[in-house]
């Protein structure tokens, strides 16, 4: 197909055929997160589920046909909804953290079965990877998390399968490295087998699967394989390996070994084996000739059609009973009558949401016993138990992987990243895994969740850069991801409810960015005015996705901003008013995708636009807002952004970011210049 220009990028599975024996040792209901060399696994699993057309399906994938049943012709992936194989590229083993999460979900689902539960209670999870990618820090983090969990006797029915072909593109794995590395890890049982011997592989894989299934503990199946025909595409192994080495590998072709083993067992003589080989070749060629006539994607619209997953039907809920609320909130119910700070309102909103939706689970560093470093999740563990409010180990990739994996089994996870700066070591779990899942699966697989992240600057007495990070660039260019950022307590509660609705009903991936400095904020203009505290809105109230906030109706100037910038701009607004400049302050609230039409509607009638952006000048939100204003309005506009700097500790904590004085000055200049 490739020679005829009808087949596209693919990566071979030759040499890894022993994985068929691993598939045979598992059940099709054991969700499998596969290595890219696992065509044999998927083909064998297709044999376990009646009615599959695996040759047709795989060739459609190679042909990038829109009929491809997993990705709709978008991407080369292994995967199948019917076979419980969620697709991913698996190039750097970044699928391992979610496999850990999915394995954890099995125990949780026994206790709290979610409405959209996808896996039976006796399932196990399998994930596979190569010997080279086993070294990746993401993979190592996943091994460690699985071990850490199992070490505490928490169920972790997960089978790691390392396909050891001894080489990563051109770099050889040190001889014996995988065995030495994994044979004696705490909490992880090691099973070695020879992938060139399908009997040995099936026997050992069955033992490993049995161990995982019965003991609900993780195991590491080490499968010896060979790599035939190079790494991928145009890779020529003879450019970095001796010819004799390449030939020795080819002589170890698992198909030849299997033919020999079957012949020795008297099950198939070599002539019949050859006949099967030739019949299969002819059959696949016939199927390929048909497949290349099938349609392919053409337009950007075609490609992008599955960036956003389809909505799903959810059972309606009337919310918790008054008794349940009273029991959960206790004395907080009385406190709800008074204006409160943002962190309390988020806590209450989470409580109501968890009471309403039993499938919500929280996870993160210190979210349980401590109740979060800022107290946002206080009392939630006592209200909902440690199985729904999970204190995790210190590894953000594992926290996000836990969320993604739980979502694969119907839970609605709300993972917390303790500080925005800690997201960056783990953001690929959102970018490369969570956000791509609907895209790679044509909307068949989804991992809806709400990632809560405490972030942005302006904490007076605490931190420095790592606790006041003001960069959201990595969250703004991820297709399909929704980035929400409230500026007040009541907005936070109502937006969080909308985020849960978006995730639960529309299966969206949402990041809820909570401005730390506003968590405890009480006053707006002067000490004791209580101007930034709000009442807890009725649980039925939501702020819709894309709905912006508006403070004041002045027309001299509109300040377009969010989060701390909104707070500071409201301060500036009063001072400007005293000077005769009537300003309007618009809170964007939804930072990505930008609610462009709502923004334009909110600024209509104003004569000038000032963008106040507390994220960095380069890559910050201000760039997008200025572009919007330039492209779609004729209004004079300028911006006040944070400098391209890290945040300082000490008195200069806010020096690099917009201030009230700075906003007033910029507003004066802008409106004066235009008048």
């Amino acid at each position: 197909m490739q020679a005829a220009g009808q087949g596209y990028y693919t990566i071979g599975s030759s040499g890894h055929e022993g994985m068929a024996a691993v598939a045979a040792a598992l059940r099709p209901t054991d969700m499998a997160f596969l290595h890219y060399r696992d065509a044999a696994f998927q083909i064998q699993r297709a044999e376990q589920v009646p009615g599959q057309s695996i040759a047709w399906d795989m060739l459609l994938s190679f042909a990038c046909s829109s009929d491809d049943p997993i990705s709709g012709g978008r991407h080369k992936v292994l995967g199948s909804k019917a076979l419980n194989i969620p697709p991913q590229t698996s190039t750097i083993a970044s699928h391992l953290p979610k496999a850990v999460g999915a394995a954890y979900s099995l125990g949780l689902a026994r206790r709290h079965p979610p409405e959209h539960k996808a896996l039976p209670d006796d399932a196990i999870i399998m994930c596979s990877f190569g010997d080279a990618s086993a070294n990746h820090s993401t993979a190592q983090g996943a091994f460690n998390t699985a071990q850490w969990t199992a070490y505490q006797s928490v169920p972790m029915p997960l089978l790691f399968v390392c396909e050891d072909n001894g080489i990563g593109i051109s770099t050889k794995t040190p001889k014996g490295w995988i065995g030495a590395n994994f044979a004696d890890r705490p909490g992880l049982k090691y099973f070695p087998c020879d992938g060139l011997d399908i009997y040995d592989t099936f026997r050992v894989a069955s033992q490993a699967a049995d161990y995982v299934r019965k003991r609900r503990r993780p195991a590491f199946l080490h499968v010896r394989t060979v790599r035939l025909y190079g790494h991928a595409g145009a890779d020529m192994p003879t450019t970095y390996m001796k010819r004799e080495e390449v030939e020795a590998e080819e002589a170890n072709d698992p198909l030849l070994h299997s033919a020999r083993l079957l012949s020795e067992a008297g099950a198939l003589d070599t002539a019949d084996a050859l006949a099967i080989y030739e019949q299969t070749n002819a059959r696949v060629e016939r199927v390929a000739d048909e497949v290349v006539t099938r349609p392919r994607l053409k337009s950007a619209k075609d490609v992008m059609a599955s960036l956003i997953p389809p909505p799903r039907a959810c059972k309606p809920s009337n919310g918790p009973t008054a008794e349940a609320r009273a029991a959960a909130f206790a004395s907080d119910l009385k406190a709800m009558q008074e204006p409160q700070i943002m962190s309390r309102l988020i806590n209450w909103a989470l409580t109501d949401l968890m009471l309403t939706h039993g499938e919500i689970a929280l996870m993160g560093e210190d979210v349980g016993r401590k109740g979060g470093v800022y107290g946002v999740t206080q009392k939630l563990m006592s209200r909902f138990g440690p199985s729904r409010v999970i204190d995790t180990l210190l590894d953000e990739q594992s926290i996000l992987g836990l969320g993604i994996g739980l979502a694969h089994n119907g839970f609605l996870p709300i993972p917390e990243i303790q500080f925005l700066a800690y997201l960056h070591n783990a953001e690929d779990q959102l970018r490369g895994e969570a956000a791509t899942l609907p895209f790679f699966s044509n909307g068949q697989y989804t991992n809806p969740m709400i990632v809560r992240i405490a972030g942005l600057g302006y904490q007076k007495g605490f931190g420095g850069h790592f606790h006041n990070d003001n960069s959201v660039a990595v969250l703004r260019d991820i297709p399909g991801l929704i980035l929400a950022c409230p500026s007040s307590g009541s907005d936070a509660a109502m937006m969080l409810r909308e985020c849960v609705r978006l995730a639960r009903e529309e299966q969206r991936l949402v990041v809820f960015l909570e401005p730390i400095a506003l968590y405890p904020m009480r006053d707006l203009h002067e000490a004791g005015d209580g101007g930034w505290m709000t009442r807890y809105p009725d649980p039925s109230e939501r702020i819709g996705f894309g709905e912006v906030g508006r403070h004041g109706d002045g027309e001299d100037l509109v300040i377009l901003t969010f989060a701390n910038g909104f707070y500071l701009s409201c301060q500036a607004q009063k001072r400007l008013e005293a000077e005769g400049i009537n300003a309007r302050v618009v809170d964007i609230r939804w930072l990505s995708p930008l609610p462009e039409d709502a923004i334009l509607d909110a600024i209509s009638g104003c004569r000038n636009v000032l963008v106040v952006d507390e994220t960095r000048r380069t890559g910050g939100l201000g760039e997008a807002l200025m572009t919007l204003l330039t492209e779609r309005t004729d209004l004079p506009h300028t911006r006040l952004s944070a400098e391209d700097s890290f945040i300082a500790t000490g008195p200069a904590y806010a020096a690099t970011m917009p201030s009230t004085d700075g906003i007033v000055e910029a507003a004066r200049k802008l409106s004066g210049a235009a008048s």
Binding site: E47, P50, G51, Q52, S53, I54, A55, W56, D67, A267, L268, D272, I276, Q279, R283, R286, V287, D289, E290, T293
Partner: protein
């Protein structure tokens, strides 16, 4: 050398026009005599007698204990008549009781054991005759796919089945047709709920029971009692069953094959559409050969291929155009088409 998938027909295909089919086409006299011996031993009229009767009798020829044996023999005879020097059979499938024929054509049952299985199951079904079947289309006469109509009809079936004392279920997914099976209350409720179409439908199938539904569980149990798993061997050709699953030569578990044949095959929906779809997609043959007796399965095969979008066909006109240009289907019940694939008597 052309490649072909063989398709074996089910009940209802040996009718008046087929009387004498075995005499005209069955290529192996001694094999036919062996079938007759089995029938004699059971105290049943022989195939030679039935096929050689002076007139077709609906009451006699369509009874399960007679029809199954006649259809099986006619199918096997046609299979044995195919010109294998020029046609490579790459897979075998069948519709409903055609599965028993497929097992024999594909080598998983010997010719005689296949006859034994077909005859036994046909006899058991006739003896109990639990429930009945009707047929109703969800495509129009242009054969264009209409998934919404199909879903609506199946929702109606579910609704009827949920009523007290009503049994109704999808028995066979037969291309653009739904074969429904159930008890009298279930079948009647469906008949009164849908509009008559094409002057024939909904159409009851005489002498048929509620095949491929849970109502047949006693028949399946009886069959398992009488027919040993030792009858079943490795197939010599790939077999595609009524779920679309492929049984590969050399790689099939013969116990599982027995278990399916006398288990789920009898009591669960027979998805002929899926079987044809898998045959097309996994074997991509030049030709689909439908053995005799009868000519009625061709429409369902063509409709199944249209539903699968095979070679871009979107309806009956596309199929006709393609069939006229390079035949995709060869129906051995039609003399002209039979001549294109058989080595023998009519070519």
């Amino acid at each position: 050398m052309k490649t072909a998938v063989l398709i074996c027909p089910g009940r209802g295909t040996y009718n008046k026009a087929e009387l004498g089919y075995l005499a005209r086409h069955f290529p192996d006299r001694s094999l036919l005599e062996a079938f007759d011996s089995q029938r004699r031993a059971q105290g049943q009229p022989t195939l030679s007698e039935l096929d050689g009767a002076s007139r077709f009798s609906l009451a006699t020829h369509t009874r399960g204990d007679n029809a199954s044996a006649l259809i099986y023999a006619a199918t096997l005879g046609d299979f044995l008549s195919i010109d294998r020097d020029n046609i490579e059979i790459v897979a075998v499938t069948g519709n409903s009781m055609g599965w028993y024929s497929a097992l024999a054509c594909g080598g998983a049952l010997s010719a005689q054991d296949g006859f034994h299985v077909s005859n036994t199951m046909g006899t058991l079904m006739q003896r109990s005759l639990i429930g009945g079947q009707l047929i109703y289309p969800f495509v129009g006469e242009d054969w264009r796919p209409n998934p919404e109509r199909r879903a609506a009809l199946l929702a109606l079936v579910d609704d009827i089945a949920s009523r007290a004392d009503h049994a109704l279920a999808l028995s066979i997914a037969l291309g653009g047709m739904l074969v429904l099976a159930g008890n009298e209350a279930g079948l009647s409720a469906f008949e009164s709920a849908v509009d008559p179409v094409q002057e024939r439908f909904p159409m009851r199938l005489g002498n048929h029971a509620a095949f491929h539904t849970a109502l047949q569980a006693p028949v399946a149990a009886d069959g398992r009692e009488r027919l040993s798993s030792a009858l079943f061997a490795q197939p010599r050709l790939p077999l595609i069953d009524g779920r679309g699953a492929i049984w590969w030569p050399g790689a099939s578990d013969t116990y599982d094959l027995w278990d399916y044949t006398l288990g789920a095959q009898v009591t669960d929906t027979y998805d002929f559409t899926r079987a044809v779809t898998v045959a097309a997609r996994e074997f991509a043959p030049d030709l689909f050969i439908i053995t005799g007796p009868g000519t009625s399965l061709g429409g369902a095969v063509a409709q199944s291929l249209i539903l699968a979008g095979w070679r871009g066909m979107g309806g009956k006109d596309d199929f006709r155009a393609r069939q006229d240009e390079t035949p995709l289907l060869a129906s051995m019940g039609m003399p002209d088409q039979r001549a294109t694939v058989s080595k023998g008597e009519n070519s």
